[in-house]
């Protein structure tokens, strides 16, 4: 396929507008005034409200927005993948001039896979666990009439190899749970591209993956689509990622397109207030900004003063430079954790999840443990929290060895070291109201009278900026960010010295993530807390951490102050992680 000329629409015009574009080139996909609603008991709730998007052959366009902005719904509406209650209530989806919303079930079935491929978001849940990989790929090939019988099998192997699974032939009979997340996503990309569609819809194809894997996969996807001349509709909440991977950008907010145009332009000069907020909150970008703010003159930093995120963070950054060395509050000496894995028969295998890790955390500072999934960082968190016992080594907290603590002593330790976990949906009991959730640790440790506990809950809700009235609400009625605030309030209830934050902001949208990080920073200054911050996201680390330990395969490969790690990474692995931050090499703002 020839490289088609990319038309850049004149500034100020929505991309959906056809004015100013040569009449002879027909867009591959043109969404006109699309409206999608969800049927609920209270009537039709609109999710997409009059969206216009135009995509030309060979182009890559990214739709950016937070969850609930309608970006996924828009994408699903194109090939009628909306969940049961969803319905297109107005507008057109023109694909090569044909309105897809008017097609019969049979006709749209012929479009799916064949003309428009789809790569879903979560590789863990998007492959059927009960069928083997070969079957699931072959099925797509047969359904689109590409090949049958033996030929289909050969084509399956080819598709998987192209998607980056070099040992595809040997792994056809394996099941999804035997594949890593990255490999599953490769399988899904293979399926999406198996029929060489003209358009590929990629709905957050890598947001569930580690940064380095994300980068490999996106690079690969980019190469494939370029080779095949496939247009890509890319959906993401990550602005940095969008800017790096797409030449056109559409920003959605509350079901509407608020800004669209060439990526570079939008990021350099965001017009809509929401886009401006998004640009300033994206951690991958903020990291860079803090850096500049720290070295910049007062006049320069005034540009960012509109955003309270930076003020606190910059203040903290300055503060941490003056911090005097004190004795470590937590000191971890050469700890290891070995898990026994049952193999076939009676044999067992040893898995060294944590292998000779040592580091110390000073009071009032934040130490970040960074690494990909499987690097052992969460295991370290569990060991520090005494949720699992260490195999060897020692963990000292405030001068006391915590390894063998039992009964009362352990309870005392737990009061001082509290966890906040990743998934705010899973870590709150759905049957407990917010007030009860926060009061529970107080109750468990027998602190105060009912009245005093009530007062403490009020104080905690204030600290995490939630209204007093929210105490009667249940987790299902709260957003992800609010839930994580509750989880933090619960952790703070016993006035601990240390919070272990295990991927505490990883599941949140950028804007919300910014708010929670801000809250954590404020609380640290206010209450003198010590944080052990576990994350896979280096961009976030830059915002909050004083010291960084980079973990790989159960070992710490690099440990240094945050600035040293970012400015002068010593290990190849750290450099690789840094390079993989999306948007890291992209020029934002000025």
């Amino acid at each position: 396929m020839s490289q088609s000329v990319i038309d850049i629409t004149p500034e100020g015009l929505p991309v959906g507008s056809t004015e100013g574009i040569q009449a002879d080139e027909q867009p591959l996909l043109q969404i006109r005034n699309l409206e999608v609603g969800f049927q609920t008991q209270r009537g039709l709730v609109p999710a997409v409200r009059g969206v216009d998007i135009t995509l030309y052959a060979g182009q890559t366009l990214a739709i950016v927005g937070e969850s609930g902005s309608g970006k996924t719904t828009t994408a699903q509406a194109i090939i009628d993948l909306l969940p049961g209650a969803g319905k297109v209530t107005g507008g057109q989806v023109l694909f090569e001039g044909r309105d897809l919303t008017k097609l019969s079930a049979k006709e749209i079935q012929a479009v799916r896979g064949n003309l428009i491929g789809y790569v879903p978001q979560d590789p863990m849940s998007n492959l059927n666990p009960v069928w083997n990989i070969g079957f699931q790929v072959e099925e797509a090939i047969k359904a689109n009439g590409l090949a049958q019988g033996k030929e289909a099998r050969a084509r399956t192997i080819e598709v998987l190899q192209e998607a980056g699974l070099s040992d595809a032939a040997d792994r056809l009979k394996q099941y999804p749970h035997q594949f890593s997340g990255g490999m599953r996503q490769r399988v899904l990309i293979g399926i999406g591209l198996s029929a060489r569609p003209k358009l590929l819809i990629a709905d957050e194809p890598t947001s569930a993956l580690d940064v380095t894997v994300q980068r490999q996969i996106l690079d690969h996807l980019g190469t494939l689509t370029r080779d095949y001349g496939t247009s890509v509709l890319f959906i993401t909440h990550d602005l940095g990622l969008a800017a790096e991977r797409a030449e056109q950008l559409v920003v959605m907010y509350k079901g509407k397109v608020v800004e669209s145009g060439p990526s570079q332009e939008i990021l350099a000069n965001p017009q809509h207030p929401y886009t401006q907020r998004l640009v300033s909150a994206a951690p991958s970008l903020a990291s860079r900004r803090i850096q500049s703010a720290k070295h910049a003159s007062a006049g320069d930093s005034a540009i960012y003063s509109g955003d309270s995120l930076d003020d606190t963070l910059v203040a903290r950054a300055a503060e941490r430079e003056h911090a005097a060395p004190v004795k470590d509050l937590i000191s971890i000496e050469n700890i290891s954790k070995v898990y026994r894995i049952r193999k076939k028969g009676l044999r067992t295998d040893e898995l060294r999840a944590v292998d000779g890790v040592s580091f110390g955390i000073q009071k009032g500072t934040t130490t970040a443990l960074v690494g990909e999934s499987g690097s052992g960082k969460s295991t370290v968190a569990k060991l520090v929290l005494q949720l699992e016992s260490i195999t060897s080594g020692s963990i000292e907290f405030d001068g006391q060895d915590v390894a063998g603590l039992k009964g009362k002593e352990l309870l005392k330790f737990r009061r001082r070291v509290q966890p906040v976990f990743q998934d705010p949906y899973g870590s709150l009991d759905p049957q407990y109201s917010v007030g009860n959730t926060i009061a529970e640790p107080l109750l468990a440790h027998g602190v105060g009278t009912a009245k005093e506990r009530q007062a403490r809950v009020k104080e905690l809700l204030e600290q995490v900026s939630l209204p007093w009235s929210s105490r009667f609400r249940y987790p299902s009625e709260l957003s992800g960010g609010q839930r994580q605030r509750i989880a933090i309030a619960r952790a703070l209830a016993l006035k601990p010295d240390v919070l272990v934050l295990d991927e505490a902001v990883s599941a949140l949208d950028v804007l919300v993530q910014g708010q929670v990080l801000n809250l954590l920073t404020e609380l640290q200054t206010e209450l003198g807390l010590t944080y052990l911050f576990i994350t896979h996201d280096l961009a976030v680390v830059r915002l909050v951490a004083d010291n960084v330990c980079v973990m790989q395969r159960g070992r710490i490969v690099e440990a240094a102050s945050t600035d040293d790690v970012f400015d002068n990474p010593q290990q190849a692995y750290t450099q690789e992680l840094l390079a993989a931050i999306p948007g890291g090499n992209f020029q934002f703002g000025r």
């Binding site: 969940p83 012929a110 979560d122 849940s125 059927n128 666990p129 797509a140 749970h177 035997q178």
Partner: protein, 309 residues
């Protein structure tokens, strides 16, 4: 897979001994003297009772009785009833009938239950779904004997499609009506289970991905929804097979079937420990084997279970 099967079989051993021991103990503890009851109002000659007691090992301590019994059990000797009939004879009369009845019921409830449940799940919230839910609720709440009499009256007496009572040999044909009655409650549960499971899986991400591949709707439903939805249903069927074998007392009573349920009930009232324990022991074996079968089927349906160990 082999290792998995072996482990499951090994697990059957403690279950077998535990269950038979408990049952033996419970029957032993029942109030009343079965031998005295045997002779009714006319007391036999002195010494006879002692002799009979010795014959059935009733004079020995409980634990000795149990091990003597188990020893004989493994030699194929199930003992005799107090009236002198070999227990194996009683079993040969009762088990085949109940087995046929249970198989028929299992067939009806699984086939009809899964089909109705699947359709209801696919049309969640529509008329068919609503009716299926109402009917299943009715079947669950109406006692079996009511349903049994209604069925007998309607299909047996008024319409004359089936015989109202089952003859001694209990051929398959005569067991259809009782099997329908017996299956009714489980049918209702299977409808609900399948419906919920199908409706759940219908929203699964992998089903959307399958649709996005360009598969036809029937293929998506059969290949990607149904197979995944069957795992909980299979579990239920496995447990249900056991209760169908044992819990048919009411149905057997209504249709005058000489099956396991009735026989065991009679034996319990007479304190016939050897009969009760032998029947229960065989049922435990059936139950455990059925569960083993379910577990294997499970592993066949869901590879994650197969590879977990």
């Amino acid at each position: 897979m082999l290792w998995y099967t072996g482990r499951r079989i090994l697990q059957m051993i403690p279950v077998f001994f535990g269950a038979t021991f408990l049952i033996y103990f419970m029957v032993f503890s029942l109030p009343g003297d079965p031998i005295a009851a045997l002779y009714g109002d006319r007391p036999p000659a002195p010494g006879v009772i002692e002799q009979v007691r010795a014959q059935y090992n009733l004079d020995k301590p409980f634990i000795v009785q149990y091990f003597l019994y188990i020893g004989n059990f493994f030699q194929g000797d199930l003992g005799t009833t107090y009236s002198g009939r070999p227990v194996s004879d009683v079993m040969a009369g009762a088990f085949p009938v109940t087995f046929r009845l249970a198989m028929l019921a299992l067939f009806f409830e699984s086939v009809a239950g899964i089909v109705v449940g699947l359709i209801a799940g696919l049309r969640k919230g529509k008329l068919f779904d609503a009716s299926a839910l109402v009917v299943s609720l009715l079947l669950i709440s109406v006692p079996t004997f009511v349903l049994g009499f209604v069925f007998r009256l309607t299909f047996g007496v008024q319409l004359g499609w089936f015989r109202t009572t089952v003859s001694g040999e209990a051929p398959w044909g005569e067991l259809v009506l009782p099997a329908l009655v017996l299956a009714s409650v489980s049918f209702a549960y299977i409808v609900r289970l399948t419906r919920a499971s199908v409706a759940d899986n219908l929203n699964a991400d992998f089903v959307r991905t399958a649709t996005a591949k360009g598969l036809s709707r029937p293929r998506v439903v059969t290949v990607h929804v149904l197979r995944n939805s069957l795992v909980p249903v299979i579990t239920f069927l496995g447990v249900d097979l056991g209760s169908l074998m044992v819990g048919a007392i009411v149905t057997e009573g209504i249709f005058n079937i000489n099956g396991v349920g009735g026989t065991v009930f009679k034996a319990i009232t007479l304190g016939e420990s050897t009969t009760v324990v032998s029947f229960i022991a065989v049922m435990v074996v059936i139950f455990v084997v059925a569960n083993l079968f379910v577990d294997l089927l499970y592993a066949a349906l869901d590879p994650r279970i197969r590879y977990a160990k």
